[in-house]
Amino acid sequence: MTKTTKKAKNNLDERQEAALLKSESKGFWLAYWLLLAVILIQVIIGTTPFSKDIPPMAGEWIVFMVMCIYSVSRYMKDNVWDRRLKPDFKTNLLLSLGAGAVVGILCACMLLVNGRTDVIDLLIAFGAGFVSTAVLCLIALSICAAAYKKKRAMLEEQEAEEDNIE
């Protein structure tokens, strides 16, 4: 049986792919050890009286944020964007709208779970989650895309000079 699904073109060449795989590998082990540390800390803190003062999933959120910062900084350092996605406004907008929709639905679900069934409340929760997340994501992605393009242009220029000199 032949495969009929066609894979999207990879934007990266083999050096960039190797750099990305290395970042992902290091990121995996960073997340692994950080999550283990979080579990151990939670086990220890769980036996103390002030464990109630700590918000739920605080450790996991810290690990998630560390991983986000790590990923962005590594990708910027290696000047790698993504295998399939391009750093243009259209893609960034679609991603931001997708993220906004997910958070909007999550906000509405949280209200539903807590027994709030008023449609207006649910729509407000969805709208607030959707708009705030989509706008923040679009700003963050636009800043990252601009930084990526700037560094890429800088490297191209630098290498062009070296190419001419030597």
Partner: protein, 72 residues
């Protein structure tokens, strides 16, 4: 890793820029620069593509002369 001057020389012989060679072999200019600087060790597939583009043999571009060679 040592600089790969052989590629630079072969490229100069053909009057190709790094960008032109990169386009011919389907990689980024940064990758060709990294190979020439000795910062990246390319796969055999890319080595062959570079050899084809520069009309050279693998040995001409990627064989590193080593003092220990005489022992083998």
């Amino acid at each position: 890793m040592a600089k790969n001057l052989a590629i630079k020389v072969a490229r100069a012989e053909k009057d190709l820029t790094q960008k032109a060679l990169a386009d011919m072999v389907g990689v980024s200019r940064q990758t060709i620069n990294a190979i020439e600087k000795g910062e990246y060790n390319p796969s055999i597939k890319l080595c062959r593509a570079i050899c084809r583009a520069l009309n050279k043999k693998l040995d001409d571009l990627f064989w590193e002369e080593d003092n220990n060679d005489e022992n083998y």
